[in-house]
């Protein structure tokens, strides 16, 4: 069978011709959505993984959707002369998002084996000469950069692990808590830098049609300001000072000099290949929207292509990398998209959209600002991914459509990312920070984290609201 890719058409459900949905059905599905969000918020208490929680709700929603007759009977893809019938849950999933996440994860997993990230981190540690304030600044900036190019969790794991080892080596374990909290918060700042830095960015950016370069240019000034504000606040609140005597400086420098940045590099060739591939990936993602052929295939194709090429280095053991993929995250996304699709058919998103409309009707300033703060508060207690997925869908369906330049998209992006800084469960990376803190035998409760992080989170939100309203 010859496939003419240019003629592929996905006939998704036509919402305007769907059957009548009673308010009772909308309420029923609305309750299901709230229940799912509540279960995700209590994920740790339930001892259940995200993918299982959303998977169960996806199954229940699909079944109830069929029983109540709100779902379209079929989705059809036509490829040239051929017609393919797809179950309703297949086109419900945003495969572009899945491809970006899967490709980027595989790529990062493979390149991290080259030792490139640990090499950069140790080089910076040595460059600091063991001075606590320099370390805070270097690690802070590195956290932001790693969060921008990797995922936030991986960035926090790398920097958190190194911070633990290096502060112990320097005999400054008393500053560990302050460092780890600061780094946890900075992952969410760094997560704002590019379109692929965090999942809310991918979902909202994709839905809004914001290009990689535009996203970076608009987010970068805020990230720079917020990073330095965070570091200044951390220095003040956690009492991180420079070393003041020549003897102390000499001793600290000698201690960090014993780190060997080449230890984690299995092969110089692979190391260089990874560094070059990383630069090429960023370049390719930045230019996806203008590259002939590639622009039609999208960023998911770019991420998957780079992952596949990097896997050549481990061609006999690729299964190890497949096994290491975060299938929980991928399963979570897939089932979440299905749930949201059903909610769309049940007109739950319409109802939420009306409430959101009331919020946005407060005006360009108050409405957008309120959307940002509300998104932040919501994502501080539950996962920011369903939140951004639901809001992106609602804003995307808005009539008249919001252009890609509208600040409302950014209100969701900033709110969803920064809300994670209010509580330790607000984002996966702050949860990692808590795990590293507890592994270091430092006692820090939920309330303790909130108390320590609140000044930072408030500064971030004030800066974000001002930035979105004044600059964007």
């Amino acid at each position: 069978m010859t496939l003419n890719l240019q003629t592929i058409l996905i006939a998704s459900a036509d919402l305007h011709s769907q059957p009548h949905v009673s308010s009772g059905i909308t309420t029923l599905f609305g309750v299901l959505l709230l229940a799912m969000i509540a279960c995700l918020a209590f994920e740790e208490k339930l001892h259940a993984k995200k993918s299982l929680i959303t998977g169960i709700f996806a199954v229940v929603c699909l079944l109830l959707g069929e029983i109540t007759g709100i779902l379209p009977k079929e989705s059809i893809a036509t490829i040239g002369e051929h017609t393919i019938r797809l179950p309703v849950y297949i086109p419900a999933i945003d495969w572009e998002v899945i491809a970006i996440i899967m490709g980027a994860s595989l790529f990062v997993d493979v390149t991290s084996k080259s030792g490139i990230f640990s090499w950069i981190a140790i080089k910076l540690t040595k460059a600091s000469g063991g001075d606590p304030l320099k370390l805070l600044i270097y690690y802070g900036i590195l956290t932001v950069i790693f969060s921008a190019v990797l995922n936030n969790v991986t960035a926090m794991i790398i920097i958190g692990s190194l911070t633990t080892v290096s502060l112990k080596k320097l005999g400054r374990s008393d500053k560990l808590l302050g460092f780890l909290i600061t780094e946890g918060l900075l992952t969410n700042i760094g997560g704002l830098l590019t379109l692929i830095s965090s999942v809310p960015n991918i979902i909202v950016g994709n839905r809004a049609g914001i290009s990689f370069v535009t996203f970076f240019l608009k987010a970068a000034p805020f990230v720079v300001v917020a990073t330095f504000a965070t570091l200044w606040l951390a220095r003040t609140l956690f009492g991180v000072k420079r070393l003041d005597t020549a003897g102390a400086k000499e001793e600290a420098a000698a201690r960090v000099a014993s780190f060997d940045e080449n230890e984690g590099i299995p092969s110089k060739r692979f190391f260089i290949t990874s560094a070059v591939a990383f630069a090429l990936l960023i370049a390719a993602l930045s230019t996806t929207s203008i590259l002939p052929y590639i622009k039609d295939l999208g960023m998911g194709f770019v991420a998957m292509s780079f992952a596949v090429f990097m896997l050549i280095a481990f061609k006999h053991e690729v299964n190890k990398f497949y096994a290491a993929l975060d299938w929980d995250l991928l399963g979570f996304f897939a089932s979440l998209f299905v749930v949201i699709n059903v909610m769309e058919h049940a007109l739950v998103l319409d109802a939420v959209g009306k409430a959101l409309g009331a919020l946005l009707d407060l005006g360009d300033t108050l409405g957008t600002g309120s959307l940002l703060v509300t998104s932040a508060l919501a994502s501080s207690v539950t996962d920011n991914i369903p939140l951004s997925a639901v809001l992106a869908q609602i804003l995307g369906n808005h009539d008249p459509a919001y252009p890609a330049t509208s600040p409302v998209w950014w209100a969701v992006v900033f709110g969803a990312n920064l809300g994670g800084n209010l509580t330790p469960i607000g984002s996966a990376s702050t949860l990692v920070a808590m795990t590293v803190i507890h592994r270091s035998e430092i006692k820090l409760s939920f309330g303790g984290f909130v108390k320590a992080a609140l000044p930072f989170a408030l500064v971030h939100l004030v800066l974000a609201v001002a930035y979105v309203l004044i600059v964007l």
Partner: protein, 285 residues
């Protein structure tokens, strides 16, 4: 998540390497302890003096403590305390019948090793007529340890005692029996892949001292020390392997640590070496 945190924590812990810094020991006061009268021990003292001089060790104070100065352990400790030397030179079986005590160092030497923090250079016992056995110039010094990374002191002394242009053999033997014992346990844990664990554990056990020796070579080169450093890192049976190493390199001086932080007794490995190797001078720290 925990396994990924472990993964990176391991990378950074592995990158944190102990680095050697040369700190030459002070050897300005040397006390030679013998169980004969001083006038009968002049040949022994002279041979010791020559041995030290060949390694550029010239003490400001060189004191001979003879049988007239002590006749029991308390007196010996008092004399040593009063002299407060940086180095004691003596031999096994002070005040004892040497022929009957092949399996002991003698109570005087035992006490010196454990009762004072002063390094003791143990020479082969003199002949029954008091004439010393010849001491070779320390051209090949073997520093023997099972924890090289924690023993910069052993290396400092080994380097200080080697004759100009000589070779310091830094030897580190990991106990194969302990390795096998842990591997036998790992074989019973289904979650751990045995072959991978064996390979990684073995490699890491040997890599740590190897890296440390590399840092020794760098540090000593930067200090322009006129000696060659050679690494001997292996997994095996300590006494057997040290025996082989000594024979292989014709060691002129053996250096090892006697302090066992776990208990009052002499470190078992050092004790075994001190009993086993009686023909070479031993520097026991």
């Amino acid at each position: 998540m925990s396994d990924r945190i472990d993964q990176f924590a391991s990378v950074f812990k592995a990158a944190e390497k102990a680095r050697y810094q040369y700190d030459p020991p002070l050897l300005s006061r040397v006390a030679v302890l013998v169980d004969t009268l001083k006038e009968q021990s002049s040949a022994y003292a002279e041979s010791v003096c020559e041995f030290l001089k060949a390694s550029n060790i010239v003490a400001d104070e060189f004191k001979v403590v003879g049988a007239e100065d002590f006749s029991n352990i308390r007196q010996m400790l008092d004399v040593v305390h009063a002299a407060s030397p940086n180095l004691i030179v003596t031999h096994r079986h002070l005040h004892l019948d040497r022929e009957e005590l092949e399996h002991s160092l003698g109570t005087y030497l035992d006490t010196l090793l454990q009762g004072t923090p002063i390094p003791v250079l143990v020479t082969p016992s003199p002949n029954t007529d008091g004439t010393p056995k010849p001491l070779e110039i320390a051209r090949d010094v073997l520093v023997m340890t099972d924890h090289l990374l924690d023993d910069p002191k052993c290396i400092n002394y080994g380097v200080r005692f080697v004759a100009p242009g000589g070779i310091v053999h830094l030897c580190h033997v990991e106990d194969d029996a302990i390795f096998r014992k842990y591997m036998a346990l790992i074989e019973r844990i289904p979650e751990i892949e045995t072959d991978v664990a064996r390979e990684k554990l073995r490699a890491k056990l040997l890599q740590l001292p190897t890296d440390y020796i590399a840092s020794c070579i760098d540090a000593l080169q930067s200090e322009s020390i006129n000696a060659t450093i050679k690494a001997n890192v292996r997994l095996g049976h300590r006494v057997t392997d040290y025996h082989n190493l000594i024979e292989e390199h014709a060691g002129d001086l053996l250096v090892c640590n006697t302090n066992d932080p776990e208990n009052l007794a002499i470190h078992p490995m050092a004790y075994a070496i001190a009993l086993e190797f009686r023909k070479q001078p031993l520097l026991l720290l």
